[in-house]
């Protein structure tokens, strides 16, 4: 009896040792696999880290990820697919080696790697479609060792598939894409250990893709913001710091750029010693291209206006400059006026710009003056020729206002426009004051009208008033009465 018990104990002990040994061997293999995976992930992070410190771009990172995973898993070929949220479908971003086509094909033109890759890059895989679409939709890694019997794997004679692994690139429950590997290099099938390794690497790849994608978006946004800032600064640089002091005239000007759209411009320069040139313009392009066209306009005007007393003639020359140098859909509207500072006679031409407003008789009379004219940079000389000069003469106390469409098109919450009538009314109320007061009154009224809505277009305005004799006596001495251009 006791012998039997002893034998039983010995047998149990033996069995325990055998089980334990097996367990130990399993644990060792398991921990080796784990170690290998950890090592793989660390090495992966190292590799991707190296790249990212160089430069962060999505495509480059995807190439490194795919290359690394294909190498580390000893796969013959591999491909990474990202989910395009707009299409709700997957697109291949990187393909390495002879990766099998995604769709059933009867064509045999795909034996060459190049054609095969091209085709995979071109094809779109819908969510749920085939093995790639299945993994993207389910978020579950698939190891397929008998692809011939799996309906999700497209059958093709181009590349023979022995085994296949597909893992999702997911963060929490969000699938960003799929990593797929086909055939192991040594001819044997992928097994559970390979699958586990792929899962670890795919987890890490998903985090990397997510970060790089975010960075990519941010960088794009920053580039746009940067460009707008540069254009803004540039535009500011082109505007005069202050209006010239001219005996008998009281002038004020302002240009307030909107956040995104930039393109308003104004300038003062001497045509000859008795004639002051005044220009207000609105360039249709925004950002840096708009600012460049503006600087072109500025130099062209300053160069071509010297000693030429016909604004229409100067605008004709400028039209040719702009037309040959810019794309067809960039154009400028402008008013160019030449003021005779002795007689206060003004000759001006309007290239598609908002009309010039004139207040006479202390504001009792007003007029919007819009002679024929076409925006600069759109049409050839033959048609542009309709742009004509108009002459007006200002008496003491008369005021003219030049403005851009940002003034009359300023909007309120009810989507109503500020409009010409409100401009007239507001300007009229402060006509007795200085030019600067007229300007300030209109600007304040526009702000009140728009409320807290963001300004959607540049707002630019010039007010020129002929001083009444009484004002004139107390005015400062003239400064820029030479033929030199005013350099602000």
């Amino acid at each position: 009896m006791s012998k039997n018990i002893l034998t039983l104990i010995i047998i149990i002990l033996f069995a325990a040792v055998i089980i334990l040994k097996k367990r130990i061997r399993f644990l060792r293999v398991y921990s080796e696999t784990r170690m290998k995976e950890r090592e793989a992930v660390i090495s992966f992070l190292h590799k991707i880290g190296e790249r990212i410190t160089h430069s962060i771009d999505l495509q480059g990172s995807l190439e490194i990820i795919t290359n690394f995973i294909v190498e580390y898993t000893h796969a013959e070929s591999g491909a990474i697919f990202l989910l395009n949220e707009e299409e709700n479908a997957l697109r291949a971003k990187v393909v390495i080696g002879l990766f099998p086509p995604l769709h059933q094909t009867t064509e045999h033109a795909f034996t060459k790697r190049k054609f095969l890759t091209e085709r995979i890059m071109r094809d779109k895989v819908n969510l749920g479609e085939g093995i790639i679409g299945y993994v993207a939709q389910s978020g579950i890694t698939q190891l397929i060792t008998d692809p011939q019997n799996d309906p999700r794997v497209p059958q093709t004679s181009d590349v023979s598939i022995a085994s296949l692994m597909v893992a999702p690139l997911k963060i929490k429950d969000k699938v960003l894409g799929v990593m797929a590997l086909a055939n192991k290099r040594d001819g044997i099938s992928f097994d559970e250990r390979d699958k586990s390794l792929l899962e670890s690497l795919s987890d890490q790849a998903a985090v990397t893709v997510d970060i790089v994608k975010l960075y990519d978006q941010l960088a794009k946004q920053q580039r746009i913001e940067q460009e707008l800032r540069v254009a803004h600064d540039f535009q500011k640089l082109l505007l005069p710091k202050e209006c010239p002091s001219v005996e008998g005239l009281d002038m004020a000007a302002i240009s307030e750029p909107a956040l995104e759209v930039g393109g308003d411009y104004y300038d003062f320069f001497w045509v000859d010693e008795d004639h002051l040139g005044v220009v207000i313009a609105d360039v249709s392009g925004k950002g840096i291209p708009g600012a460049l066209v503006m600087s072109m306009l500025r130099s062209a005007l300053r160069a071509e206006s010297r000693n030429i007393l016909s604004p229409a003639a100067v605008l004709k020359v400028i039209n040719e400059y702009i037309r040959t140098d810019t794309q067809v859909n960039v154009f400028i509207t402008a008013i160019y006026a030449i003021i005779d500072i002795r007689t206060h006679k003004i000759l001006f031409a309007r290239a598609g710009h908002e009309p010039l407003v004139i207040f006479t008789d202390g504001g009792k009379k007003h007029d919007f003056v819009a002679p024929n004219g076409i925006a600069l940079g759109m049409v050839g000389e033959d048609i542009f020729n309709i742009t004509e000069n108009r002459e007006i003469t200002l008496a003491e106390g008369d005021t003219i206002v030049l403005y851009t469409d940002g003034v009359v098109e300023a909007m309120n919450k009810a989507s109503e426009e500020y409009g010409q009538q409100r401009l007239l009314k507001t300007a009229n109320r402060s006509l007795h004051g200085k030019a600067k007061e007229v300007l300030d009154a209109v600007m304040a009224d526009i702000r009140e009208f728009s409320g807290d809505l963001p300004q959607h277009d540049d707002i630019t305005m010039i007010v020129i008033k002929v001083k009444a004799l009484m004002d004139s006596v107390t005015s400062r001495a003239p400064v820029g009465s030479g033929t030199e251009n005013l350099n602000y």
Binding site: V328, E354, N372, I374
Partner: protein
């Protein structure tokens, strides 16, 4: 800011010209969609085009630039473009810029025919 849309509808009513109906806002945000559609139409061989502006609420400088580019292209290729019934506001903008002198603008549907009989 609100974002505004543009709807483009293409209609071939007779053999002689294609009518493109624009509804909404033709500005910097929608001009690409318009240009892409135009590209399809013109490259399919259409050279006689009527742009129906009855439903167009707003046109910006970018929109006018696109119309200008289309006019110039069609003229080069012996085609023609007519703008049909712009609303008061759109007409005012076109007129201010001097474009009523360049574009063919038909204020009534019947007038459209005149522009194409001459071709």
């Amino acid at each position: 800011m609100k974002s505004f849309d543009l709807h483009v509808r293409v209609e071939i009513t007779n053999q002689r010209y294609t009518i493109i109906e624009l509804t909404g806002f033709l500005d910097a945000h929608t001009v690409n969609a318009f240009e892409n559609r135009i590209e399809e139409i013109v490259s399919s061989g259409q050279r006689q085009i009527v742009i129906d502006l009855k439903g167009l609420n707003y046109i910006s400088s970018a929109g006018i630039g696109a119309l200008m580019a289309l006019t110039q292209r069609l003229r080069k290729e012996s085609g023609n473009m007519v703008l049909l019934q712009p609303n008061e506001k759109v007409f005012k903008i076109l007129d201010l810029l001097g474009f009523t002198k360049i574009f063919n603008v038909a204020l009534k549907e019947e007038d459209v025919e005149n522009y194409f009989q001459a071709v």
